[in-house]
């Protein structure tokens, strides 16, 4: 399905990415920044998986009753790797935010800037 010559699936990924980017830049709460980063990551994963799809394709599992065309397995494997990295980044970021909260009592960037 296309929208003025652009694939709607890709447009959806761009919109999701921009929502995440806005959260990351505009929000001053560190947790919301991490949420924005995760939304951006989700957009990238959706984009990569979407690019591997094929019209009328099946999942790339070769068993009795399955037939070509299969969707490409490489984007799936890459995204699986990406998800694990995203989880790792989120975990470390949240741990650091917990440290910031313990030391300064706030996780708002504008309040942190005013601290002596």
């Amino acid at each position: 399905m296309t929208l003025v010559g652009l694939d709607l699936d890709y447009v959806a990924c761009v919109v999701l990415f921009c929502v995440g980017l806005y959260m990351l830049v505009a929000k001053s709460n560190l947790i919301k920044k991490v949420l924005g980063l995760n939304v951006m990551e989700t957009a990238v994963f959706a984009f990569i998986v979407t690019s591997g799809m094929i019209d009328g394709g099946q999942e790339p599992i070769v068993v009795a009753g399955s037939a070509p065309p299969y969707t490409s397995p490489i984007p799936h494997a890459m995204v699986l790797t990406g998800i694990v990295v995203a989880v790792s980044v989120t975990a470390v970021a949240l741990a650091l935010i917990a440290q910031i909260h313990a030391h300064y009592g706030t996780i708002e960037v504008d309040e942190l800037k005013e601290l002596p």
Binding site: I61, V63, Y70, V89, A91, L96, A102
Partner: protein, 245 residues
């Protein structure tokens, strides 16, 4: 800040729209993603790896290095989180009395609603069975080690939320905890060395027909290690960030 963010978003969106306008049509069988190495994996994958789930074949056999380092990345994340001094041990410096009071209120454990308690308790065994099925049937249905790890990890986190973290911590044997956390990287290294011994290539899998059973055994060992190690790491990450004990 808002204006700057909006301007940045607009510039990035415009750039990406120009980018996607130049991409090959979505779902086109002749697109580059379906014609180069991907096509070869689909044609030869089953014969070369003996795995029916080609995502697993790409993940563990063709791109085993990726997956090895991926397991190392999440293990490193756990090490980093555990290396930080426990944020919950020393109370945050109270700037005024009301802030301290409100903090004391939120620190008190919120009683779990009986509905949540019952649902989690009823569903936990089924979630565990689902994780095992996803692991066991991973070669013929969508699923595998990482998916299973995510499901088991989520179950342990849900149990920890409802029953308290002390109870959930007992799901992982205390003496084996350090080994289980490092299970993924350790087993991957062992399998890689076994592959080196057998084929002369680090992380190599024996390709001949006669070694089919051995190859399958190596893959199953890897999948189980990823599932168990991953689940323990996910649960530990959550517990390390959890409220004070």
């Amino acid at each position: 800040m808002r204006v700057f963010a909006l301007a940045l978003v607009l510039v990035v969106a415009a750039t990406m729209v120009i980018g996607i306008a130049g991409l090959p049509p979505h779902g086109d069988p002749d697109g580059p993603v379906h014609t180069h190495v991907g096509a070869r994996y689909l044609e030869q994958g089953v014969a070369e790896t003996g795995l029916r789930n080609l995502v697993t074949a790409v993940l563990l056999v063709y791109r085993g290095f990726d997956t090895f380092l991926e397991v190392v990345v999440i293990f490193t994340a756990l090490v980093a989180v555990l290396a930080l001094p426990s944020a919950t041990r020393q109370p945050p410096p109270s700037r005024d009395e009301s802030a301290a009071a409100s903090r004391r209120d939120t620190d008190d454990a919120v009683p779990v609603s009986p509905v949540v308690f019952l649902v989690v308790r009823l569903l936990a065994p089924f979630i565990a069975v689902f994780a095992l099925a996803s692991l066991y049937r991973g070669h013929v249905t969508p699923g595998g080690g990482f998916q299973s790890a995510a499901i088991i990890g989520a179950m342990m986190i849900a149990l920890g939320l409802v029953f308290g973290r002390e109870h959930a911590a007992r799901l992982v044997p205390h003496g084996a905890k350090a080994w289980l956390q490092a299970l993924g990287p350790l087993v991957f290294a062992v399998v890689a060395l076994v592959g080196w011994r057998l084929t002369g290539a680090f992380l190599g899998f024996p390709a001949d027909e006669a070694a089919h059973a051995l190859r399958e055994a190596l893959v199953v060992i890897l999948e189980v290690a990823i599932a168990v190690g991953g689940a323990v790491i996910l649960a530990q990450l959550f517990m390390a960030l959890d409220a004070p004990s």
